[in-house]
């Protein structure tokens, strides 16, 4: 039971990271109907920016850790948002009226471009960082078996909850959220009704990139090691989470992220860690076969 509890805590932490990235996939798909495969690499950029900001500020060595982490968070959000905006403006907007495959191929190209850009500019070696947030609460201790909730895990879960609350408020209560929902329903009609569709799409990319950058920062803090390739696997897993929750549905993305975190962690804990990715992607296959619209997604009804 104790082991189970510990795995549950770990899976919530991992699921929060996946959930934050999955929102970016699901929002972009909801509005322009394309899968932004470069989103995983935007997350990777976010983690690199966080790492660089941490080294500049000397996070972990100074006394003002909460303040320093806040500065790192804002720097990561700001710079990664600019990446998200530029990606949309340069790579996707010129192809908006084009056939669907063009946008998909561009997304793959953008993903490879970002990966290689970071590989060339930051080097191919892994970048380790010293643990920044240490300590936590121990609930149970019996020999080698410990059930603990670290401060870092609390930080990750709280930041995720705060961001999701802010985000839900933006989507449901603000004019921007209304525009986003309108664009999601019908892009042409939204344009006819006077909504600035280009601006709405750009802001969607900015929000997605911001959430990915927060996930990137949490990834650096949690695992303590990154490289230029982390965006690929994490991005595909977050995409699996978006599909599992129902692509286009924001609560679905969060639920999907938590479920993927749960499956990955429990598989690693109770079966074999080598096959954890196989387990996650098997879920993707099973979902696509039996419930392609996901847990909270709605099946597409073709009007005659």
């Amino acid at each position: 039971m104790e082991y189970f509890l510990q795995q549950l805590i770990n899976s919530l932490t991992l699921g929060s990271i996946y959930g934050l990235i999955a929102i970016g996939y699901t929002m972009v798909y909801g509005i322009i109907g394309m899968i932004n495969f470069a989103h995983g690499d935007v997350f990777m950029i976010g983690s690199f920016v966080s790492l660089i900001a941490m080294v500049i500020l000397g996070v972990g060595t100074g006394a003002f850790l909460p303040l320093a982490l806040l500065v790192v968070l804002f720097a990561a959000i700001l710079i990664t948002s600019v990446y998200g905006w530029t990606l949309e403006r340069v790579a996707y907007r010129p192809l908006r009226g084009s056939f669907r495959l063009a946008a998909l191929i561009t997304a793959l190209g953008a993903s490879i471009f970002l990966q290689n850009f970071v590989q060339v500019s930051q080097g191919a070696k892994i970048k380790p960082i010293q643990p920044v947030i240490q300590g936590g609460f121990t609930f149970f201790e019996n020999g080698s078996l410990v059930v603990s909730l670290s401060y870092l895990q609390i930080f990750i879960i709280i930041i995720t909850i705060i961001l999701l609350s802010i985000f839900s408020y933006i989507i449901s209560k603000t004019p921007l959220g209304r525009s986003q929902r309108a664009c999601e329903q019908d892009l042409t009609m939204s344009k006819l009704l006077g909504i600035n569709v280009d601006k709405t799409i750009s802001i969607t990319f900015i929000i997605g990139a911001s959430l990915a950058s927060v996930a990137g920062m949490m990834f650096v803090l949690y695992y303590g090691v990154i490289d230029f390739f982390i965006g690929f696997l994490t991005g595909i897993k977050a995409f699996t989470a978006a599909v599992l929750g129902g692509i286009g549905s924001i609560p679905g993305a969060v639920i999907g992220g938590l479920l993927i975190g749960l499956i990955e962690t429990f598989w690693s804990a109770y079966f074999t860690i080598e096959y954890k990715d196989v387990a996650v992607f098997s879920i993707l296959v099973i979902v696509l076969i039996f419930r392609p619209y996901g847990i909270l997604g709605k099946p597409e009804v073709e009007k005659v």
Binding site: I45, F48, V49, L51, I52, A53, V55, I56, T61, A75, L78, I79, V82, Y83, T86, F117, V118, S121, Q122, G123, K125, K127, P128, I129, Q130
Partner: protein
């Protein structure tokens, strides 16, 4: 639109492009992280600001060339609703 207005628009756009390119490139290209060989505490920087600013300059230059190309294209294109065209029609 007068050429003076065009010029000011081009300059504004080039400044904006330069600013965006700087924000994109300085953190990732300028601050190259390396594992410290002398200090066991973690990472150190290998600064590459010259390369970063060269790339920013290159991007601004390319954008400027695009502007010249578009401008010359507009100049060559006859105005669709000009009085002369209407008369000919």
């Amino acid at each position: 639109m007068t050429s003076k207005k065009n010029l000011s628009l081009i300059i504004k756009d080039l400044i904006f492009t330069g600013l965006i390119a700087t924000v994109l490139l300085i953190p990732i290209v300028g601050f190259r992280t390396e594992i410290s060989t002398t200090d066991s505490t973690g990472l150190i920087f290998n600064y590459n600001f010259i390369i970063a600013f060269l790339v920013v300059g290159f991007i601004v230059g390319v954008r400027f060339l695009f502007h010249i190309y578009w401008f010359s294209k507009i100049q060559r294109k006859p105005k669709e609703d000009s009085e002369e065209n209407k008369k000919n029609f």
